[in-house]
Symmetry: C3
Subunit: 138 residues, 3 copies
Amino acid sequence: MRQHQIRFTIPTQGKGLIEITREVAAWLDDTGIETGLVTIFCRHTSASLLINENAASAVPRDTLRWLDQMAPEGPHYEHDDEGPDDMPAHLRSVLTGASLSVPVGDGRMLLGTWQGIFLAEHRARPHRREIVAHVIGE
Amino acid sequence: MRQHQIRFTIPTQGKGLIEITREVAAWLDDTGIETGLVTIFCRHTSASLLINENAASAVPRDTLRWLDQMAPEGPHYEHDDEGPDDMPAHLRSVLTGASLSVPVGDGRMLLGTWQGIFLAEHRARPHRREIVAHVIGE
Amino acid sequence: MRQHQIRFTIPTQGKGLIEITREVAAWLDDTGIETGLVTIFCRHTSASLLINENAASAVPRDTLRWLDQMAPEGPHYEHDDEGPDDMPAHLRSVLTGASLSVPVGDGRMLLGTWQGIFLAEHRARPHRREIVAHVIGE
């Protein structure tokens, strides 16, 4: 059994979903792990990770609008000194989560046909986000 | 250290929560792993996994009604070409998540007394859902 | 490759977020694992785990108020025989999740600067909550 780890820096353009499936898959391929477990972790509290449909481009747009509704901006937050988009960004991160685990088989992440891994940027302005990927297996 | 992996196909009857704790526990028992980590992964974007109380049958019913409210059907989605229940199903999957990890001790998943593992079907019609379970340990 | 596991009992004072980063980090340090994967698991269906900003004390307060809104108490639940805060506690647990995974590098969890690990107590009265932490690595 062995393990590998990598850090990705993903530049974001403000609020949006960025698919990172290909980057993670390419790294996994390089590790040569055939069977195991991949874990992906987002090192931020105003960006997060989620799995979503990767085919129809309207799905990420609807998902972003839904996240806006689930934790809307507004004057009702006590924590507002980092801008009106900051506390909603923390809440959307809590809602979606910082870590994802995906089993590996035949050298590939066992994602379903329509599953993509997305980094969700919840802040209004561009950021550079750090993602750690870890795999253990053989 | 060693690892095992299995794929389950779970038939669903349309929207609902289906407990799969027993299936996962029986497989884990067969692996003979005493201490380790189980990860369960749902290979879909309109079905998902969650841990919920497994005693009172009203809990899953309330949970389903709540999921209906959190991401209601309606004319406000841009992605609507796969039916009115499709985009809400994606959102409910994002809300609840595709992966779950549970530590193993004394040969069993260390779930609490009232915790059950549930597959959540978010589409209106029956589907066959693929779940991957992975364990690493010894 | 080796693994370690520990159970923490965390007393809660009723609804609130309790940071447990330090406890998990101290245990991880004792294990001597330099590179690997930590998984933390909450053995309850009315308490859960989340990652949130650990700097501004208003963030947990806003997060708790948001959780109150996302799954409010009320007469609309079928499951109400364990008190008005019970079903909302289950739903808030589903929303936030029972498990978290964090990669380990240089002997430390690779949390971002502002990330803290929190146990979320969703019941109104104090409880004793059991958390399992598992690490695999070397």
